[in-house]
């Protein structure tokens, strides 16, 4: 038996996973990096993106791509507003205390889940892919939509990188991240930076949710796995490090794809959990993180 086709397939699947994971984990990582808080409700922003995509597909008549494009714009926008509201209503009031933030975002997680459950019910909902073109390899055909996810993730990561490194807003974000008090001493509106960062982080997860939903059904509990995997990625990559987060997401996404195809998905989960344990023991600042702060 020739192993090459399986290897190719596993790599492709791994890359698709890695792409979704990169977007989701980057959202968590950017929020942690700037605000030093962990958002436990991050998976719910992902879920809201997916549910939003389903709602758009339902409400928009016409071809599937129309609903998809609408969802890609509307879902992150609504989720971003929701996140900014949560920042204003909750996080700001507890002064971004790390522990209080964990507790209150756990609360937020349950609230969002229950509201979605009460509104849309417990059933998983499938959404059509916006296009169906199949790319033919010599051994198998592969969904062009999945490759589109990879391209979309690359574009979005590049956009985030440009925002952080090349824009005025990014400069203010980075200054706030390094030293909040000194940032205020130079007139930087730290509170607005925080709510903006929290919104952007949530929007990254929501976009990932929209992208994933043609492959995976929308469901009110679907946020758990992305949250856990994002934690894994963010810990392995080094908390708050963007390049580290990307590298770790690709590493974990690929190994997940390979192990799932050649062995079982369970083994893949065991492996990534083991990786986290090893990293936490031997290199707690993360594989790619700096041992500062």
């Amino acid at each position: 038996m020739d192993i090459a086709p399986y290897l190719l397939l596993a790599t492709l699947e791994g890359l698709v996973q890695a792409s979704v994971l990169t977007l989701t984990a980057l959202g968590l990582s950017v929020v942690f990096g700037t605000m030093r808080v962990v958002n436990v409700a991050h998976g719910e922003f992902f879920m809201l993106g997916a549910v939003g995509a389903w709602v758009c597909a339902m409400l928009m008549p016409g071809p599937p791509w129309l609903g998809f494009v609408t969802a890609l714009i509307v879902a992150p926008a609504i989720v971003g507003l929701l996140a900014a509201a949560a920042d204003w209503a909750i996080l700001k009031r507890i002064d971004y205390d790390p522990e209080a933030t964990i507790i209150s975002t756990i609360g937020l997680m349950y609230i969002i889940q229950q509201v979605v459950l009460m509104t849309f019910g417990p059933n998983a909902q499938a959404v059509d892919a916006p296009f169906y073109y199949t790319i033919r390899f010599p051994w198998f055909g592969y969904s062009s939509y999945k490759l589109f996810i990879v391209v979309a993730a690359i574009v979005l990561v590049f956009a985030l990188w440009r925002l952080m490194k090349g824009s005025r807003v990014g400069l203010l974000m980075r200054a706030t991240q390094y030293d909040k008090d000194t940032a205020q001493n130079f007139g930087i509106p730290v509170d607005r930076v925080y709510s903006g960062v929290f919104a952007v982080g949530a929007m990254m997860a929501a976009i990932a949710g929209v992208l994933v939903v043609p492959n995976q059904q929308a469901h009110y509990l679907m946020g758990h796995d992305p949250l856990l995997l994002s934690f894994v990625v963010v810990i392995v990559g080094g908390l708050g490090s963007i390049p580290g987060t990307i590298a770790a997401a690709v590493l974990i996404g690929l190994s997940d794809g390979l192990l799932s195809v050649f062995f079982t998905p369970t083994l893949a989960k065991i492996a990534s959990t083991l990786l986290v344990a090893l990293v936490l023991v031997f290199k707690p600042e993360g594989l790619f993180g700096k041992a500062t702060r």
């Binding site: 203010l172 980075r174 390094y178 030293d179 130079f186 930087i188």
Partner: protein, 241 residues
């Protein structure tokens, strides 16, 4: 343009239950250097942070050209024209020299001429614009911290031990810059621990202890009677040098 009038009055600042400032205050005009001296723990840094609003005084007044800035959000204080060189420089270490200066410029949307003015005072920074500021030497970091505050285009400039741990040559260029800044009409509050560091450029000297201003003198009084220094900071006669 009228002369800047800056007045801090009746600051009482607490850390939990311990009081770090007690009825603290001073007055300062444009084109003047007031030196605030005092031992470690006297409350100098707390005083500056209380002005900047990153530490919140329980009571007080903060008047700049007739406007009371007391109680404004911290981000508004620099926007009204108060430049700050924090103790320990507090550069954004991961950002480049140019980016640190950009942070200063955006505070009051100062123009490029303000940047050029700051860079002319510290030309060594010009060659380091794309370097990460954390990799600069101690002297260069101090100069950058001061240049960043100058990019605010301040009416008032507050410096917290800017010469701490520096070599004499670096101290000299900081001093020189302060003299030019004063000549341009900026009101300067200079915090130091060592008297000899400030005697050459001070117009007035205030001594601080236990969160209070104990005494204030014109520089001539201090020069004529160095026993004042003994009395208030217990320094040696090296200060004459």
């Amino acid at each position: 343009m009228s002369v800047t009038q800056f007045k801090v009055e009746g600051f009482n600042t607490f850390y939990g239950r311990s009081q770090a400032l007690r009825d603290f205050g001073f007055e300062l005009k444009g084109g003047e250097v007031l030196c605030l001296l005092g031992r470690n723990g006297a409350g100098k840094t707390t005083a500056l942070q209380s002005v900047m609003g990153t530490v919140k005084p329980a009571s007080g007044q903060l008047m700049l050209n007739g406007e009371n800035l007391f109680g404004l959000p911290a981000k508004e204080i620099p926007r009204r024209g108060i430049g700050y060189v924090p103790q320990g420089r507090r550069l954004f270490a991961e950002l480049t020299v140019a980016e640190n200066l950009e942070i200063g410029l955006q505070t009051r949307k100062a123009g490029r001429e303000v940047l050029d003015y700051a860079l002319d005072l510290f030309p060594v920074l010009k060659e380091r614009m794309d370097q990460r500021s954390g990799t600069l030497s101690g002297g260069e970091q101090s100069m950058l911290s001061m240049a960043r505050a100058m990019c605010v285009d301040p009416l008032v400039m507050m410096l917290d031990e800017p010469t701490e741990g520096l070599m004499p040559s670096a101290i000299a260029s900081i001093r020189e810059a302060l003299v030019k800044l004063r000549a341009s009409g900026v009101a300067i509050l200079l915090v130091e621990q060592r008297v000899d560091a400030v005697l050459p450029i001070a117009d007035r000297v205030a001594f601080m202890d236990h969160g209070r201003i104990k005494a204030e003198f014109g520089i001539d009084e201090v020069r004529n009677d160095l026993s004042l220094l003994h009395q208030y900071v217990g320094v040696s006669d090296k200060a004459k040098a």
